[in-house]
């Protein structure tokens, strides 16, 4: 090049700049100070009461489980023909909640939705804890829990293997794979942040513990190169996984011959419902956290608004599925199917059905209004309704389909016992106990990833140090 040209790199004009993902032009160091500071600082005063209540409620669940094991399944309210009730409802409820974490971490990553970086760590942690809660229920519902290992392909005394034609066995593999892969993905994302925690640590114990799990990470670019590729691949692997898990959960019902369960719409409808419920729970968790921990600059109103849009979209898909189920029940001409659906809406469980419709179909429609999406209090309230509605969805599908058998003499009405109720409430105790421990000891926002989406991190932006002769 003969002539020397000095090209000044300028910030793009205001109208072309996207709304920044980290507000108030915070620097790179601020991000690690702020986020790591939450786990490093003194335990906030509200944390202990919250932890003690959660841990007590969790202990209540373990007592209920001990009672169940020692006495038998009869301590629950379920009986023929309602062989599945709150146990499987709770299982599907929790596993569905987990799906939002994987959606945020994997699917939004593949779609290059950079706003995901400030919520993905907490959402993935939520996934893990929700899967832990979910895993308890199928395990304890088998009755003789000491024989639960028969579900795994381990040779037993009679040399009989599991029957791989059963969707219930597919479920065992789907859920255990899901839990494992979610843990791996979460840990891979944590490694650079654990290194940050290690390098900031002041006590020997912290330095050792964070250092051990950081695996000697130095932020080397030769490492980042493999790391980013692995992260991309794990995102690519987790996407078909998350879609398959809830599809397989829906096979538990759809592959059977029970009217109300035997429908082909179940896999996509369950996946949409899972994402819907999961985003509801992410909002329920993060809206209080962002104000308690002062994270409004990282989890911005825009994040809340975008999650509201996802809730609106998936809620509408779920509403469409409810409508389509009814249409097919009529159009299919099968009298049993038709009866099952009429009974759902106008039978003895009408109150559950209409709770579900109001919470899942009507409530999220408020998110069409920007005023609603940007009002954190209203978003929080709607998110609670979404959680309630999605629990009822599973209850309606399971119990209303079972309580009317082919023989009217077997008909019954399921009522939960106190053990049912306490076990379910206790699972929230487990969930919140794990989440409180997580936010106390680990960076609850992906530090390295949030740094990566700021303008200071962009070598082609003036904030990132770009000066003249912009090339590469």
């Amino acid at each position: 090049m003969a002539e020397v040209t000095t090209v000044k790199v300028q910030a793009p004009p205001r109208e072309l700049e996207r709304e920044p993902l980290v507000l108030n032009n915070r620097g790179l160091g601020w991000i690690s100070d702020k986020i790591a500071g939450i786990a490093e600082g003194k335990t906030p005063r509200w944390w202990w009461p919250a932890f003690i209540i959660s841990a007590t409620v969790m202990t209540g669940m373990f007592c209920c489980i001990a009672y169940l094991f020692s006495t038998g399944i009869g301590v629950w309210g379920l009986n023929q023909p309602v062989g599945w009730a709150w146990d499987i409802t709770n299982f599907v409820f929790w596993i569905g909640i987990g799906h939002a974490g994987t959606l945020i971490s994997a699917v939004l990553f593949l779609l290059r939705q950079r706003w995901r970086t400030s919520i993905n760590r907490a959402a993935e942690a939520m996934t893990l804890f929700a899967v832990a809660c979910a895993g308890i229920f199928p395990l304890i519902h088998v009755g003789r829990v000491w024989l639960a290992w028969w579900l795994f392909p381990i040779p037993n005394a009679n040399s009989i293997w599991p029957q791989f034609r059963s969707p219930l066995l597919w479920d065992v593999f789907a859920v255990s794979t899901y839990g494992t892969v979610s843990l791996l993905f979460w840990y891979v994302g944590l490694v650079p942040d654990l290194a940050t925690m290690r390098d900031r640590a002041v006590t020997k114990v912290r330095k050792f513990a964070y250092g051990l799990f950081a695996l000697g990470w130095t932020g080397s670019n030769r490492h980042w190169r493999n790391y980013e590729k692995a992260y991309l691949l794990l995102a690519g692997i987790s996407t078909p996984l998350v879609l398959s898990v809830h599809s397989i959960v829906s096979f538990d019902f759809a592959v059977s011959q029970v009217p109300g369960w035997h429908t082909t719409i179940f896999p996509p409808y369950f996946v949409a419902g899972a994402i819907f419920s999961g985003f509801g729970m992410v909002l329920t968790l993060l809206i209080p956290l962002r104000s308690i921990c002062g994270l409004q600059d990282v989890i911005t109103i825009r994040h809340v608004e975008l999650m509201g849009k996802v809730v609106l979209a998936t809620g509408s898909i779920v509403g469409y599925a409810y409508g389509m189920e009814f249409f097919i029940a009529w159009y299919g001409g099968n009298p049993y199917e038709k009866y099952a659906f009429m009974n759902r809406a106008f039978g003895p469980y009408w109150w559950a059905y209409w709770t579900m419709v109001s919470c899942n179909v009507i409530c999220p429609q408020l998110f069409w209004f920007k005023k609603v999406r940007t009002n954190v209090v209203i978003v929080f309230i709607i998110s609670i309704f979404v959680n309630i509605g999605m629990w009822f969805e599973r209850f309606v599908i399971i119990v209303t389909s079972l309580h009317r058998d082919y023989l009217p003499s077997s008909w019954s009405y399921f009522k939960p016992t106190w053990v049912d109720i306490c076990t379910f409430i206790g699972s929230f105790g487990l969930f919140f106990t794990l989440f409180l421990l997580f936010m106390r000891f680990l960076p609850m926002i992906a530090i390295a990833e949030v740094k990566g989406v700021t303008t200071q991190a962009d070598p082609h932006h003036p904030a990132g140090g770009a000066k003249g002769g912009g090339h590469h």
Binding site: S159, A174, T177, L184, Y227, L234, S244, A448, G452, H472
Partner: protein
């Protein structure tokens, strides 16, 4: 693992030096320095940053990562394991006729094999990545250096090892100085 802070001597006595580190404040500065080091033909060198810097791979002259091969073969191994396991258990070792259907069919074996494909591929990706990065390692000379702790915070470092054949105590330092680093330090082994 970083242990006791080391006295920062610029003249290494008795201990071997691991390399020279140059600090930069912005990703753009580190990237321009990386381009210079790359063009000077160094082999044993690296750039350390708190997050992956977009475009740094090209600036360092690095090719595509090989992690994908691990994922691919892991996935294939998972699919094969699933199919073989189900054929062996339900179609060979303990035959149970269900509804007059064939003892084995890849269709009913698919959901479980699919999950195992994903499970094995994920583990292979994770272990492949750590293997390629020669991690975990519990000790690294850089991690004992106090300045270098900023590499996971908000600073960027270009590190050239003394083991590099092109390394020279004076020339290399000059190269890094000319690329605009305000803080250059030697790191001991």
């Amino acid at each position: 693992m970083a242990t006791a802070p080391q006295t920062q001597t610029s003249t290494p006595v008795l201990t071997r030096t691991y390399g020279i580190i140059a600090e930069f404040d912005t990703p753009a500065d580190a990237m321009h320095a990386a381009e210079k080091v790359r063009d000077a033909g160094f082999r044993k060198w690296d750039v350390h940053s708190p997050f992956p810097v977009h475009g740094m791979d090209a600036a360092m002259g690095l090719g595509n990562s090989k992690v994908g091969w691990f994922s691919f073969f892991g996935g294939m191994a998972g699919l094969t394991t699933g199919m073989l396991m189900i054929w062996f258990m339900n179609g060979f070792d303990y035959k149970i006729i269900v509804g007059g259907k064939p003892l084995f069919s890849p269709l009913y074996a698919f959901p479980v094999s699919y999950e195992l494909t994903i499970l094995f591929a994920s583990f292979a990706t994770l272990f492949g990545m750590f293997g390629l990065n020669r991690l975990p390692r519990l000790h690294h000379p850089l991690l004992r250096n106090k300045t270098f702790r900023q590499a996971t915070h908000d600073k960027f470092y270009v590190v050239i090892e003394t083991a590099d054949p092109k390394y020279s105590a004076t020339e290399t330092r000059k190269l890094l100085e000319s690329s605009g680093s305000k803080h250059i330090e030697m790191v001991e082994e």
